[in-house]
Amino acid sequence: MISRQSLIVARWEFLRFFKWKQQLISYLLMLAVMGGVFAWVYLTDESRQLYRIAVPGQVTVQNTAQFEFQRPSIDLSQQLQQLRDHQTWHAVLAYQDDRWVLHTGASSKWLPQLEQVLQNYFQLQRAGDFGLTDTQLSELQQPELIERSYLDDDFKGEETPEKMIAFAVLILLLIGLSTAFGQILMSITGEKQQRVTEQLYAIVTPQQWMDGKVLGHSFSALKAMLTTTLVMLVFFVVVSLIAGDGLDLSWLNWWVILWLIPFALAGLLLCACFMGAIAASIDDPNTSGKGVVMMVTWLPLLFTYLVIDSPSGWAMTLLSWLPVSSFAAMPVRMSMVEVPWWQLSLSLALLVGTVYYMRRLGGRIFLRGMQMYGKEPSWGDIMRWALSRKAD
């Protein structure tokens, strides 16, 4: 049961790192950066321009939306002079010394596209020389399609929006864990250095204090995940509207999102308990090597990512059941294959039970770790504290 004091500490910790003005500015900057990138890509898109290409009289290549082919009556040297003077032509095709030469000012992004159009034209010409029709040539060029057939009815397919959602889940969890990692390390080691510990121990129990911290920072991490999602969605909507594609959010899987929130929150709580216990044993974050151990909490994300292409495989199934990794693996798995609700519920229940156990374990380490100044406990000490029964 969470005490009133824990909730006060949670609120304090949440607000300590929540500076809404700076947050708003950072999100607006993020949107501005994304908008700037989008605008830059749009403005430098050379495919939207029409390019005039001078070709010899015998080349009868068809115009495309991007390239207009002309057969000028002037000789090649004059054409090249016009090209140099940036008049009339963007490129000049000539047959010189028994080979085709494409003259142009400098390398450009549209050149490979032009070369592709010309290659197609020459292949068609060669096919005509062999007596092939356009259709026969087209058949020859078409690779044989090998379609995959999945016997697993629950698998939703490759390269689907579901896989994108799975990736997004992992990225969001990474954002959440990174937020919690930074804040917990700063908050706890900062309190030790500012000597707040004894003052607070006289008011709340170490377990109440740690519960409050874990709750506050987990909600802070969840907030970071939700706001990032919101910023991404806003960006997606704006881009869709600018591109004139209309707003289509049908790819969003609300069922996955609904389950993601409790899994993510429980996962963040689990990781925050672990991080809090380790951070409490750090005397000086600048010299301690223990901070790296807090990054162990990122391993479930890595392991899940490595098996993301086999969502029905034993590895993903195992990860989605193990309480230390299910917060990452289960939402990813369920976004790619159908998972029965009872499996989701049971996996979540196991995770919640583990959170409770980790909370007690973390509380015992926190109790002693926060009272140690000047020297750090050994890993043996930490294990002994974790296994002791004393929590207050």
């Binding site: 004894e198 003052q199 006289a202």
Partner: protein, 313 residues
């Protein structure tokens, strides 16, 4: 509230921080723990607060017919020796946070906070970040944090350290006010002059043991049972005659016209004075009362001598 500490011992690794210490604290009194660094004062305070437990002996806290082995958190206001608050937050936010943890509502906490900020002349600084304040002012904020919830018992570990003389006097007034409000106060300190003005009772500690205990008068009695007479005259004093007096055990001639006479424990002071007035025309004659600082030094040197003697034996 009554606190009873009985034969308490606390060890850290090979160091005995507190050794067989016993004393009692009565409700509503100001009780001082005195002693040099490493005397064991903070170790006792941490056990009273419940942060550590005694290895031997017992602590019992009796309040409204309930007995506990440490001071319950709801009854306690605490200023730790290792102190600090959130430097990046304002004075007001720090105090409100701690008051709310103690169970106060926001409105009540604000009203009490305003009172104490006024007392310590910090009202203007309430919105400043704590790190912007001087060390002394930060300490005053922490003193306010210790009493904002009006606890039954306030434990202050070195409340005078880091304060200038003016602020030390302010803290003395503050502690007197706490006593008037019915709070029991336990404090540890080095500043004997401050303690002398304040404490109802005290213990003097050295190397984890109680050297002296009681009221100031009792401690005087224990630390310096011999009576001393300060004597000065216009003429040089008859030193041999003074030494020949039966009741006089020692004569400390500070100047030819000035001396301190130490009398036997059971000496009749009145008869000695009569003898002196019969022979000498004194310019000044006074019973000498050593201050707490002197008593403390005397007690410490006696304790040290005793330890050396024991070690030699």
């Amino acid at each position: 509230m009554q606190l009873r500490i009985e034969a308490v011992t606390k060890q850290y690794a090979t160091v005995t921080a507190v050794n067989q210490v016993s004393f009692q604290i009565q409700s509503g009194e100001i009780f001082a723990l005195l002693g040099p660094n490493g005397a064991g004062k903070s170790s006792i305070i941490r056990m009273l607060v419940g942060m550590t437990k005694p290895d031997a002996g017992s602590i019992s806290v009796c309040y409204q017919d309930q007995i506990s082995n440490h001071v319950p958190r709801r009854l306690l206001g605490y200023l730790p020796e290792d102190r600090g608050l959130y430097g990046d937050k304002s004075v007001e936010k720090n105090l409100l946070f701690l008051a709310q943890l103690h169970g106060l509502g926001k409105a009540e906490a604000l009203s009490r906070m305003e009172h104490w900020l006024e007392v310590f002349e910090l009202t203007e600084r309430r919105h400043d970040d704590l790190k912007q304040l001087s060390k002394g002012n930060q300490q005053k904020v922490q003193l306010i944090a210790a009493v904002l919830h009006q606890p039954a018992l306030v434990i202050l570990d070195e409340p005078f350290s880091g304060l200038d003389p003016i602020n030390q006097e302010k803290v003395v007034d503050f502690l007197k006010q706490l006593k008037q409000n019915g709070m029991t106060v336990i404090l540890s300190a080095h500043q004997m002059a401050m303690v002398e003005k304040l404490a109802d009772r005290m213990v003097l500690m050295a190397k984890g043991e109680v050297v002296l205990a009681g009221t100031l008068a009792e401690i005087r009695q224990q630390a310096q049972p011999e009576v001393q007479i300060q004597l000065s005259s216009k003429m040089p004093l008859p030193i041999d005659w003074l030494r020949s007096l039966d009741a006089v055990t020692a004569v400390d001639l500070q100047q030819p016209e000035q001396a301190v006479l130490t009398l036997q424990r059971d000496a009749e002071v009145g008869s000695v004075l009569q003898q002196l007035l019969g022979r000498i025309e004194p310019e000044q004659i006074a019973m000498q009362k050593p201050d707490l600082h002197q008593l403390y030094l005397n007690a410490m040197s006696r304790h040290q001598a005793q330890l050396t003697q024991e070690a030699a034996a």
